[in-house]
Amino acid sequence: MNTNFNPRRWQITALICGCMVAACSGGSDKAGVPDSFNGVTLIAAADQLEQLVAVGDVAELVGIPAERIAQHVEDYDNNAVRKKIAFHWEAPGTISFTTLTGEAVSVPKHHSVGLANVEAVDMETFNQRYGTSAGIRANIDALVDDESVDADVAIAQVTYLAGTVKGLSLEPLEGVGEGAVWEMPTQVLHVYADGVAFTVTTNFGDDPGINKRKAIAFAQLIFNKPIK
């Protein structure tokens, strides 16, 4: 049995193991902005989010076949900035409940990753909106000022947002776009690059570490996507 230590062999083994770990975790902690990325064209495509990302790319990111992934576009108020797209798939586990009529029901859990809040902003606005709680406070002010919103609804929503501010944690990330913030406990990634901001939403389960890595990988997908 040959027990001689071979540093070169160990380096190669470590490199392979490192690559495998990176592949399994779904990406690195960086998402650089390539020269080909153009914020203006991303803004122009904001109204057609379903054409921005290919299901095949998401399937590769998630690690499941593309045919198991469905798309859902949320566009209830016809506002491109508030439009969201989510790619979702069946996850392990079920949701079980008993209906009001006593029927026991189980439905499969789902996971998702998505894109939202695509908007032209400058860096200062991005930092103010997503790097602090100012964005949520602005939403509260907007609700209070909007006389078309039912008072009961406004109160309930403002109370909810106020609770969100209390538990808010904002972590600036280096090497992701030109600026990025990881928001907890919502587990969303806000990214800025070339005059445009967007939000990556994640639901890969309860592990924030996995959600953050997948969100960064998804941001890289957006940067690398050639937009026509």
Partner: protein, 329 residues
């Protein structure tokens, strides 16, 4: 407005209550799509009265959620007492960021030309004369163009100051008009309606008349509305010229072809529908499912029939006037 709202918000936060104690927060959840939320404008007590349940909705606490979960093609309703809004949303695949919408975005019938029909009334043997009320319901069989309110509101189906509407499920509504102001009233009208899809609405009127020392007299009249021509926004709005003609009961455009169920009174002054008694086996009745058979919502589904509640084809009348345009995409 702003000052008042701020004061109200501060008051709410001071009380550390997530929302008013009487208001129910309803979640509409679809697997993979997460949940949308809506604050109901009726209390749990009112829902129990309208839906005939005993302390079911009134037991919903201020931190609980009334959940409508889509299972297959239908909806299942339950009370979530443990999860927050965000947690529930993530459970169904959402991103965890939730908003309260002013409406339920799951349901919105198409604008366009709609045609209403009434089915064969089913009546229990009774002495009460409720024909005049059936005559009013008969008015629903007409056709016309409709521009639905956005968001859709059940009040649009029958807007009456005495009608109390509740949303039973995202696409199911129940309105109750209780002339006695309570369960022991002499007459009660219940209108169950379901938006089957964006081009079809089905429902049933149930009129109950209580007569002293007699069994209650009950009549059920199925109704349905179908979109025969959807408005085509891209090719111009065909409804512009008749925007005022947008309410149900659908107004007739005066086209005799649209009159699918012409009333032919049997005698002078007789404007009644020919109510058929349950006691006659040959009368082609819609066997209304009793409330007690599990489905507590719409007592209009015929036994042995999965879908078509209103198989009404008047003699000598073409059933399909105009084709429904195919869906876009």
């Amino acid at each position: 407005m702003k000052t008042v709202l701020i004061m109200l918000v501060i008051g709410f936060l001071t009380m550390a209550a997530s929302r008013g104690k009487d208001q129910i927060l309803q979640a509409t959840c679809v697997s993979g799509e997460g949940c949308t939320f809506r604050l109901l404008d009726v209390t749990g007590e009112e829902m129990d009265v309208v839906l005939g349940t005993d302390k079911v909705y009134s037991s919903i606490g201020s931190d609980d959620l009334l959940v409508h979960a889509k299972v297959g093609d239908g909806w299942k309703t339950y009370i979530e007492r443990d999860l927050t809004r965000g947690e529930l949303d993530r459970l169904y695949g959402g991103d965890g960021y939730t908003m309260i919408y002013l409406f339920d975005p799951q349901v919105q019938p198409k604008d366009g030309a709609w045609k209403g029909r009434t089915g064969t009334p089913v009546a229990s043997p009774c002495v009460a004369d409720i024909g005049s009320y059936l005559g009013r319901i008969q008015g629903l069989h007409k056709a016309g163009t409709i521009r639905f309110p956005k968001p859709f509101k059940p009040e649009f189906l029958l807007n009456n100051a005495y009608m109390r509407w509740v949303t039973v499920a995202p696409n199911r509504f129940r309105g109750v008009m209780d002339f006695g102001g309570g369960l022991a009233s002499p007459m009660k009208l219940v209108y169950d309606a379901i938006i089957v899809n964006e081009e079809r609405i089905e429902g049933a009127f149930e009129i109950t008349v209580s007569v002293p020392e007699q069994a209650p007299c009950q009549v059920t009249v199925p109704v349905s509305f179908d979109c025969v021509v959807a408005a085509d926004d891209e090719a111009g709005d065909p409804l512009r010229e008749s925007e005022e003609d947008d309410l149900l009961p659908v107004r007739s455009k005066g086209d005799p072809v649209d009159e699918l169920l012409p009333v032919k009174p049997k005698g002078e002054g007789d404007d009644l529908l020919p109510v058929k008694s349950k006691g006659n086996p040959g009368d082609e009745l819609l066997p209304v499912t009793p409330k007690s058979q599990g489905d507590d919502l719409l007592p209009v589904r015929a036994k042995g029939q999965d879908d078509d509640l209103l198989p009404i084809k008047p003699k000598g009348t073409s059933d399909d006037l105009r084709p429904v345009k195919p869906k876009k995409n």
